[in-house]
Amino acid sequence: METKNNNVKKQQKERTKDLIFVLCVLAIPMLCFAVFYVGTNVNSILLAFKKYTVQNTANGVVANYEWVGFYNIAEFFKQTFVGNKAIILKNSLIIYGFNFLFGLPLALLFSFYIYKKRFGSGVFSVMLFLPSILSSIVMTILFQYFVELAVPNMVAEWFGEKRFSLFGEGIEAKWKMIVFYNVWVGFGLGVIMYSNAMSRIPEEIVESAQLDGISTLKEFICITLPLIFPTVSTFIVTGVAGIFIDQANIQGFYGTGTGAVIDVQTIGYHIFQSIMVDSTNYAAYPPAAAAGVSLTLISAPIVIFVRWALDKFGPTTEF
């Protein structure tokens, strides 16, 4: 009996030691998490309900944070949905729309091509993934130089057309260039993930279908897509979650400083730029925080709904 008690005590002691060790190991990461994630986000949420003011008084320059309730959030909704900033909401939806309607299908097709190891598939996979590896600043500068300098100069030299531009002139042309660029660079990660998921499809299923005389297109639609649907569904959900934070690589095109005009801004870029344009302007922080809170309240239910819909109505396959 005594031996049993001793053993229990010894085990408890061991477990306590293990627990202390684990807590020590986790202490610093937990502290980092508490300060840099929880604390920062709690402060950001509280900031959404405040206003920052500066007063130049005879006793000195004084800064204050005043509570303004839902004023900042109301202003955000007013400006973004009915006011003169509605264009940034439209742009965010356009970027997502093009990525969903063109980027996603094309990525699936390219992935299938690579999965089938057709001619040049190795080159394709490198070319499509390259924009994801290289610095986005380098890529946007290269792309912009190509579109706005190289192509017009080549056309001028070969055909004598002096003002040729691939996407036209003016701000609309710039927007088209940004949309095209985002669809193109959006391929990379998707192609890798989809082709990876496709490579896990059991050979026997494919061989069996081929023996039954299935065409390549039918194989893609009836076998490949349903079997990789969980991966596709994950990308769709994360895409929806990212609608309002996607900056669309706009900073790469316009640089730092005052940045892009509102005609080509997305919501994500607009919030980022409102702070970056002058990081000493603390008055810009509460409206940006309010925008973040508001967009979270909008996008969270949408993401949950999309997730539910995909789970409910999407193909359920296991292998």
Binding site: V54, N59, G257, T280, N281
Partner: protein, 589 residues
């Protein structure tokens, strides 16, 4: 054993996460001179570069060459950080004791956050040790630019920074050599304004009437009076009105194969906010601009647009008022009416004509391209006079010469010393006046921010050195050195001798002369209202519209600024934007 190994690995990983807490960036730890005390200076390395800081530092180091700072440190070593973090937290955690910035950096906010050191003692200290007894930094600033005193001196009668550039702002530059070599100046009697300007102008109008445009190189025949309506001044021969300006542009394009304008396409959307503001400032002058600070006074240049998009002045002046309650909250105001100033309309009108005139031939193709940076635009401008299609005007800023240093050096290598900054002649282009009624009023330019401050975290010896550094850079020697190197003029009292002036470029000489005449002024925010709506009351927000265009260039880029009607639409939307902002964010808020 396995458990122990796992514990060791976990501990190592946990230790590695500690490094995620460490910051990154800052100054590289180079090989500093251990025998000297290090003094760090942060600099926004853009248009002004850092050559002037190097020269300043060299003399400051010489001053302290034999000073024993203790701990085996004899003498000073000053290190420039050309990519400092200007975020308040970045400044507070930095080793940089003094900062040079090219922008306003929300001065009062930085003071409120205790980022800046109170440098009042240095600003008011006698400069006797530098041979300028009886003068202080403050007295030299007051003598030259009293408007900046009100911006930098707080209500508590303290200073936390001093201005960097007294003429730093956006402007148009013209190629004087091109004008002379191609006879692009108007002759005396060779343009309409010579006969129709007001009799009250410094030089009375000529007798007779205008018949045909006549040009001169300014050497073989006398030049016209120019926008200031006075013969014998720097703007002689230059177009006095919009009509004359665009006739000259047509002449350049049709007869001389000269492209009037070039600018940086990469930053056009931003720069044109300020170009339009500069035009506005020239038309409205200091009095008209002052209304935007005080929100109280008589506005006599307001108007509306008619169905044709033409400006129609109000029959009677408008009294601008603002009432506040005991807490300073604005309860009523019609200050948004200032957006109807004539200067606002004509600024848009000017650039509309530049963008659309002569079938879009008034500017280079590079001006519409996003790859044409500021330095590339300067290069395009400088090299153009050696090619088949020279360019007459560069839309840029007064710092452009310094920013184009590499281009000037490259030109000298190819074409010799005659192509250097000191030998090629460029001038500051005074804006033409919208109509003959404005001819005779002196030209004005807006200046922006750019300041020098001391890091609020400095103490002890470094603090003393920083305060002395503030005084040291405002001595006559330092001010002249700045002008010689950068090519612009600091806003402190300074007199250049004829010999010293001769050593400067033509453009710098003009900047100096115009600064002496008081042609530069600032409209940066000073009151609590303007400080707390800092973005809205800044110069670059003046031309925002309810149509989402933030400048005339943005509207043109979107195909929405072509012709007078579009100018009228733009003007009305600017008016609406200002009214909406006041009603939504200021009055009773």
């Amino acid at each position: 054993m396995k458990k122990l190994v796992n514990k060791v690995i976990c501990s190592a990983l946990a230790l590695a996460t500690v490094f995620t807490v460490a910051g990154c960036g800052g100054i590289e730890e180079n090989q500093y001179d251990e025998t000297k005390l290090q003094f760090f200076v942060g600099n926004y390395n853009a248009g002004y570069g850092y050559a002037y800081i190097e020269a300043l530092n060299k003399r400051f180091e010489e001053k302290y060459a034999t000073t024993d700072f203790g701990n085996g440190k004899m003498g000073l070593e000053i290190i420039i950080d050309n990519s400092p973090n200007f975020n308040p937290a970045g400044i507070q955690s930095s080793k940089n004791a003094v900062y040079f910035t090219s922008g306003w950096l929300n001065y009062y906010n930085l003071i409120a956050q205790d980022v800046l050191l109170d440098i009042t003692s240095a600003v008011r200290a006698d400069l006797g040790e530098y041979g300028e007894s009886g003068k202080t930094v403050e007295s030299k600033l007051t003598a030259k630019r009293s408007d900046l005193v009100s911006q930098y001196k707080t209500a508590a009668d303290k200073y936390y920074a001093i201005p960097l550039d007294g003429v730093g702002g956006y402007c148009n530059i013209y190629d004087v050599d091109l004008f002379e070599n191609n006879s692009l100046y108007y002759q005396k009697g060779g343009c309409p304004s010579e006969y129709t300007r007001k009799a009250t102008c410094a030089s009375a109008p000529l007798d007779g009437s205008f018949s045909t445009y006549k040009y001169t190189n300014g050497i073989t025949a006398e030049k016209s009076a120019g926008p200031d309506g006075e013969y014998g001044t720097m703007d002689d021969g230059l177009p006095a009105t919009y009509e004359e300006f665009f006739d000259l542009c047509d002449y350049m394009v049709d007869k001389k194969t000269i492209t009037p304008f070039t600018w940086s396409g990469a930053v056009a959307a931003d720069y044109f906010k300020r170009f339009a503001a500069v035009n506005w400032a020239d038309i409205e002058g200091k009095d008209g601009a002052e209304l935007w600070k005080t929100f109280s006074g008589t506005a006599d240049s307001l108007g509306t647009v008619n169905a044709n998009g033409e400006f129609v002045p109000d029959a009677t002046p408008t009294q601008i008022t603002m009432t506040t309650d005991a807490n300073g909250k604005v309860t009523a105001s019609n200050a948004y009416e200032l957006a109807r100033q004539a200067g606002m309309y004509y600024a848009v009108s000017f650039w509309e004509q530049v963008f659309n005139g002569h079938n879009n031939d008034y500017y280079t193709t590079q001006s519409r391209s996003g790859y044409e940076s500021q330095t590339q635009a300067q290069s395009t401008f400088l090299y153009s006079s050696y090619g088949a299609k020279p360019i007459a005007f560069l839309a840029d800023g007064t710092w452009w010469q310094n920013e184009a240093t590499d281009s000037f050096n490259a030109l000298v290598q190819t074409y010799g010393e005659e192509a250097s900054r000191e030998n090629r002649r460029f001038g500051l282009l005074p804006a033409p006046k919208p109509t003959i009624d404005y001819v005779g009023e002196s030209s004005s330019w807006l200046t922006g921010g750019g300041m020098v401050f001391v890091n609020g975290n400095v103490t002890g010896t470094i603090k003393d050195l920083a305060l002395d550094y503030i005084k040291f850079q405002v001595t006559d020697t330092s001010l002249k050195e700045f002008t010689k190197i950068v090519g612009t003029v600091r806003p402190f009292e300074m007199t250049l001798s004829e010999t010293e002036l001769d050593g400067l470029s033509n453009f710098t000489q003009q900047l100096y002369a115009y600064a002496k005449k008081g042609a530069f002024f600032s409209t940066l925010p000073t009151s609590d209202l303007t400080l707390n709506h800092y973005e809205f009351f800044g110069d670059d927000h003046k031309f925002y519209t309810t149509l989402n265009y933030v400048s005339p260039y943005a509207a043109f880029d979107a195909g929405k600024l072509s012709g007078k009607k579009d100018v009228g639409t733009y003007f009305n939307s600017v008016k609406d934007y200002h009214k909406n902002y006041w009603n939504s964010y200021i009055i009773n808020k």
